[in-house]
């Protein structure tokens, strides 16, 4: 193996080691590289998961971020796309059992960021029809739309932490909640959605034709109104 590769393998191993040893690791300058690497990763995660940061506090988040770095170090230098596995990682940590909504909140942070950085596509306005009689031939999901159905009231918790206003009295009822993130105007926006909207979005995302949506959404739902609302907020595109 060429010397350069041997040197870099050893250096990289020492950067990732919990307790690096050897002559290299003893030099004060080596700690600068270790600290810069750790700091870059932790701060990238803190920027991507601000609500998890709120819930865990600065020190708690740093610990969780370093543990995630050890388990899944970044494979790409594009750090704004690092952290796709963070929610799943948190869900598997024994210490999060006392915070059963934490992984769902992390997922919402990720969906918000994912929508924020997703591809652009201008929603075309429906051609001169009212919401009540609008029946597009086909619907697709906007490339910047993200949605999820969660077992915890994470949407209520997320919104309380991300929107200005007090949440000291926050004691949400423990029930499943749905979330939709869209980027209709400038930045990404997260809103709660119900079961029917989630079923509709999931069916469209799976490529279901419009004629089958009635069955997908279930009895009792006002399909034209749901479709019109999801088009208006930029989640769905009529094509």
């Amino acid at each position: 193996m060429p010397d350069l590769a041997v040197f870099q393998d050893a250096f990289a191993e020492a950067l990732l080691a919990p307790e690096p040893h050897g002559r290299l690791a003893r030099a004060p300058g080596f700690a600068v590289y270790r600290n810069t690497c750790a700091h870059g990763i932790v701060e990238a995660l803190r920027a991507a998961f601000p609500t998890v940061g709120c819930l865990l506090g600065e020190e708690g988040f740093t610990g969780a971020a370093l543990a995630f770095r050890d388990a899944q170090p970044p494979a790409s230098p594009i750090l704004s796309r690092y952290g796709s596995g963070f929610a799943g990682f948190l869900a598997r940590q024994p210490w999060t059992s006392g915070l059963p909504y934490l992984a769902d909140v992390a997922l919402l942070d990720w969906l918000w960021l994912d929508a924020h950085l997703a591809a652009d596509r201008a929603a075309r306005r429906a051609p001169g029809v009212g919401a009540d009689c609008f029946q597009p031939l086909r619907l697709t999901l906007h490339p910047a739309a993200r949605f999820a159905w969660l077992d915890s009231p994470a949407v209520t918790i997320w919104l309380a932490h991300r929107c200005p206003g007090g949440f000291e009295e926050l004691a949400p009822e423990w029930r499943p909640e749905g979330a939709l993130v869209t980027r209709a105007g400038g930045g990404a926006m997260l809103q709660p959605i119900g079961r029917a909207e989630h079923r509709l979005l999931a069916a469209v995302a799976a490529g279901a034709p419009v004629r089958s949506l009635e069955r997908a959404v279930g009895a009792g739902a006002d399909l034209p109104t749901l479709i019109a609302r999801l088009i208006a907020c930029g989640a769905l595109l009529p094509v």
Binding site: D3, A27, C37, P73, I78
Partner: protein, 281 residues
């Protein structure tokens, strides 16, 4: 408009940056921050680019890595170059990827002849893929490594000769490395091939919290130090009458736009009158 002195672009300063009337003002961004599919971040940079010249500064190509530059990353950089038509594209004399892990840092290596061949080959690959010349920046160094066959200035000059790349001289990095490794920064600047210098960086540094002034950190979170301004004036003196576009780099503890512009204007003034002792801001 000929770009003179520029600033790192901070989204918090978007409005002020767009409206700033300073002649020759330009902006630089880290290319990796804009390697995303779409959204307001790219829209903001597009709006800025319509008004001001832009430089793309890469931190992730790992040109001193033992492997070829990552093809996917290079393609993303090429796409950004096509979209934003930057007047400068730069990268570092450093590596940041190994064994499938990307380290968010600019890591050192022994400047052996083997490394020279490798880095020259990687710059060739990058310049070929991008279809343009790139600038290579001297990194800040913290470790005295064994195995150097080349001084950094000779290594850089040889890369210029072999690949046709140009140099981005970070004067603060020269100052920080000189202090940390114990060499004279003036001698370093005097040894650089001035005709190859296409851009200059100026930034602030901080003493290490544990080791103090014996170990300086290239922190980019403070004003440019007076000693670095003096070195900058010396370098401009060597380059006269042709200064290179100069960037005030600031990545942390961001002050107001006006404070950054004052530093930027000081650099622009020195570029016009390289012989004069800089007025302390």
């Amino acid at each position: 408009m000929v770009p003179t002195a520029g600033l790192s672009f901070r989204p918090v300063h978007f409005g002020a940056a767009l409206a700033a009337p300073a002649v020759g003002l330009w902006f630089e961004v880290h290319a990796e921050n804009y390697m995303v599919a779409g959204g307001p971040r790219l829209a903001m940079l597009e709006a800025l680019r319509r008004e001001k010249p832009l430089s793309l500064h890469g931190v992730g190509l790992s040109l001193a890595g033992a492997d070829d530059p990552d093809a996917e990353h290079l393609a993303a950089l090429r796409a950004l170059c096509r979209r934003f038509e930057p007047f400068l594209v730069s990268e570092h004399l450093a590596w940041s990827r190994s064994g499938g892990v990307a380290f968010p840092d600019l890591l050192p290596f022994p400047r052996s002849t083997e490394a020279l061949h490798r880095v020259a080959r990687n710059i060739d690959i990058a310049q070929h893929a991008l279809g343009r010349q790139i600038l290579i920046e001297n990194p800040s160094l913290y470790l005295a490594l064994d195995g150097h066959a080349w001084s950094e200035t000779d290594f850089l000059a040889e890369l210029v000769r072999r690949t046709g790349c140009r140099l981005l001289v970070d004067v603060n990095n020269v100052f920080v490395s000189a202090r940390n490794l114990g060499f004279a920064p003036e001698a370093y600047l005097d040894a650089l091939p001035v005709e190859a210098i296409g851009e200059i960086h100026l930034a602030g540094h901080k003493p290490d919290p544990v080791h103090g002034a014996a170990l300086l950190i290239d922190s980019h979170d403070a004003p440019v130090a007076e000693a670095v301004w003096d070195l900058y004036a010396r370098l401009l003196g060597r380059m006269a009458p042709l200064p290179a576009p100069t960037l005030i780099e600031r990545d942390g503890d961001i002050p107001s736009f006006d404070v950054l512009m004052a530093e930027r204007n000081r650099a622009a003034s020195l570029m016009r009158h390289p012989g004069k002792v800089p007025a302390h801001a």
